[in-house]
């Protein structure tokens, strides 16, 4: 199977993404006889084979369930452990759109990193395109080779173990002729001078350099100018995820009614206390032991008029109350990934 082609039914050997919870999506390769263990219970792989993608799967005892999802570059990105710097979807999707990476594009990517962006590049360039991706970290390189194979990307992706800053991009297998370049390197300015050897001489080439710090951007901008790139522009993507929530509508008239009720009850309470005091005095006069009015237990306490459910736990959106539809971000938001410096190089053709 290939991550870049939809299938309908799960077969032995397929890569699938198992949705266990919102924050836990686990990629597995379906293998007859194997078992997937989750905190909701165990799921034999055999029970997955033949199911439709998107199916809900119950544990044999029906105590828990998961969903079996088709892999996509975006789900793959979400499922990755945060072991290395990942280009997330808000950045990658903008870069793909802006650089017009579509079927037939020839893309240079350095470094490969987690390989997650490589997946999105591969989805976009299709069978007629090529991704030339470079990774200098050996273990990461090996992992990428393995994953691209498992995910059916070998037709489009050429991985090279290489430090492009010192050794450039030229490979022996084929002429690169790139029209899109993505550099996610600590010092892109060391790699930029090597690009002229491998980029297209017949069409506009787009570049994007991905750098977290401002100083890197400055050196990159300078290097791009020096190396003949034009239309240099720096951008930054900010993205937010909004959760929809319910916020109780607490009407002032209800609050007023409640206050009136409290006031009334206080008055009644004072009268009761007065009665109690009288009873006590009487009891005392009669030399009896003190008599007390029994206090109601906390849990079945009468809260009086209670329009907002004060004092008890209300579930968000609970019936019997009115709710605003609102939205909020997560408590901690991603406020910076990297700056994106774009430029183009246009071959100055002589007609």
């Amino acid at each position: 199977m290939s991550i870049t082609k939809y299938k309908d039914t799960i077969e032995n050997g397929d890569l699938i993404m198992v949705y266990i919870s919102r924050l836990h999506i686990k990629p597995i390769v379906v293998q007859q006889g194997e078992v997937l263990n989750t905190r909701f219970g165990s799921f034999p792989h055999d029970s997955m084979i033949g199911l439709k993608y998107g199916a809900q799967l119950l544990t044999p005892k029906g105590k828990g369930f998961v969903y079996l999802l088709h892999p996509t570059p975006e789900l793959w990105t979400v499922s990755l452990p945060h072991r290395t710097q990942i280009v997330y979807t808000p950045d990658s999707s903008y870069i793909l759109q802006r650089m017009n990476v579509i079927g037939g594009s020839r893309v240079i990517e350095a470094g490969t990193g987690s390989g997650s962006f490589t997946h999105a590049f591969a989805r976009n360039v299709g069978q007629s395109g090529r991704i030339f991706t470079y990774e200098f970290h050996e273990a990461r390189y090996k992992q990428a080779v393995q994953e691209f194979g498992d995910h059916g990307l070998n037709d489009m992706v050429v991985v090279t173990h290489r430090d492009v800053c010192s050794q450039g991009f030229v490979i022996t297998q084929e002429k690169i002729d790139a029209d899109s370049v993505f550099l996610d390197l600590p010092s892109p300015w060391d790699a930029i001078p090597h690009l002229d050897e491998v980029i297209s001489q017949k069409r506009q080439v787009d570049i994007c350099c991905f750098s977290p710090c401002v100083e890197q951007v400055m050196k990159t901008v300078e290097s791009l100018h020096e190396n003949g790139w034009t239309q240099v522009e720096m951008t930054e993507v900010s993205s937010l995820v909004w959760e929809s929530r319910k916020e109780m509508i607490r009407e002032v008239d209800d609050a007023l009614k409640r206050l009136k009720d409290v006031k009334k009850r206080q008055k009644e309470g004072i009268e009761k206390l007065k009665e109690l005091a009288k009873a006590k005095a009487k009891a005392k006069a009669e030399m009896k032991s003190d008599t007390y009015i029994k206090q109601p237990k906390l849990k079945d306490r009468d809260r009086g008029y209670n329009p907002f459910g004060k004092g008890r736990r209300i579930a968000e959106g609970e019936e019997g109350f009115d709710w605003f539809n609102v939205s909020k971000t997560e408590r901690e938001i991603k406020s910076h990934t990297s700056y994106l410096t774009f430029a183009v190089k246009v071959p100055q053709l002589q007609l």
């Binding site: 939809y6 439709k52 017009n100 297209s200 959760e243 929809s244």
Partner: protein, 427 residues
Amino acid sequence: MNSSFSHEKGIIGYDDWAIITLPSSATKIVQMRKGGSISLGKFGTFKVDHIVGYAYGQSFEVLEGKDVLPLKSISYGLDDTSDTKDSTPALEFQSSEDNRDLLDTGSKVQKITAKEIEEMKKEGGGNDVGNKIIERIVQGHESFEKKTIYSQEKYLTRKQRKFSRRFTVRNMTPSNLLNHIRKDRDPNKLMGLSEETLGLMMSHANVMPGGNYLLMDDTGGLLVYAMLERMQGQGSITLIHENDQPKLVLLNRTNYSEEELYNMVKPINLLEFVDPGDNRPTIGPLPKEEVDSMPNIRRIKYLRRMKKVKQLNESLDMVEARAFDGLIYASTINPVTFVPRIIERMKGSRPIVVYNQFKEVLIGLSHIFLRDSRVLLPNIYESCVRQFQTIQGRLHPLVTSIGGGGYIFSGIRVLPIEGAVASGRRN
């Protein structure tokens, strides 16, 4: 050079639709008609024949006689950092160390009148006119010499951008088309959609060759175009619309032929979509002899009609087979009540992407899907790009930008077991 995908248009060719960027950073849509001329208003006029054959992305200066001079970039010699040194020989004015003596009272300090500038422009000529105008403006600016070097440069760049007779020819990519409408026309024509939100939609919807997508597109066809570009002629877009026919005015400005559009884009109206059985076309094929005996015009009409019928029937088949690989919804029809009905027609584990200019509309939808086990990972996403000025020594975000850009709701259609308790679902 007449292939349809913008990507394959590396070289400017005849009949291409393209986008021209002017020094003012305004853009213009043009078609490269053989032998034709293109007028850029005050920036001059040039002949198409002179630019055909250069690579897309090439910049030019307009010369006398509608000729052009290829340039490294539109800002060559104006504000590209690397070019600055040898490019502003005219920058030999007196300048002040700071602007303490300058009271900026707007246009009052400028002695040259708009009328004089207009007259100079009418005298024609190449970029020289621009430079001459700028020189005159500087001479006419009473307090120019009181400005700091920084303000002088800024002033000159602004004036040069305004009067230099240059342009860049850009590929008609979906992004360039979008930005042309968003920045120079009216963002509301695209429901406020920004380039970054478009990209986010395409990625979330996993648009790729071979996919069969359901689409509602109230952006005049921009979404159809962006999807076509990614699908490279493979797969289909079933386009749900609410009128006699879909409004795809922007596709007329792209390089796709009618035939290519017919093969990829399948229009189907709301009624047909929600009730495919009841809305099958009633016109069946006529006997061959009858067709053969038709007068020519009538036969062409008939064959065109039958082509449409065939296309519609194929779409209705897919609707009935629930065979769609993704939903992209960018319609002014309330998604809150409609999207939950549409997704019944989708395959499992396929993405749902709903665009709206207003987050408030999507919140309602999101609430519905939080309680609907057919959709996983329901969330609202917002993405916003900030542009920076990169002039050396003066790096900062642009001071103003276009607001909005829209929001997307995204989730994954799944196939819950009927009656299964969804207790673990919101973990």
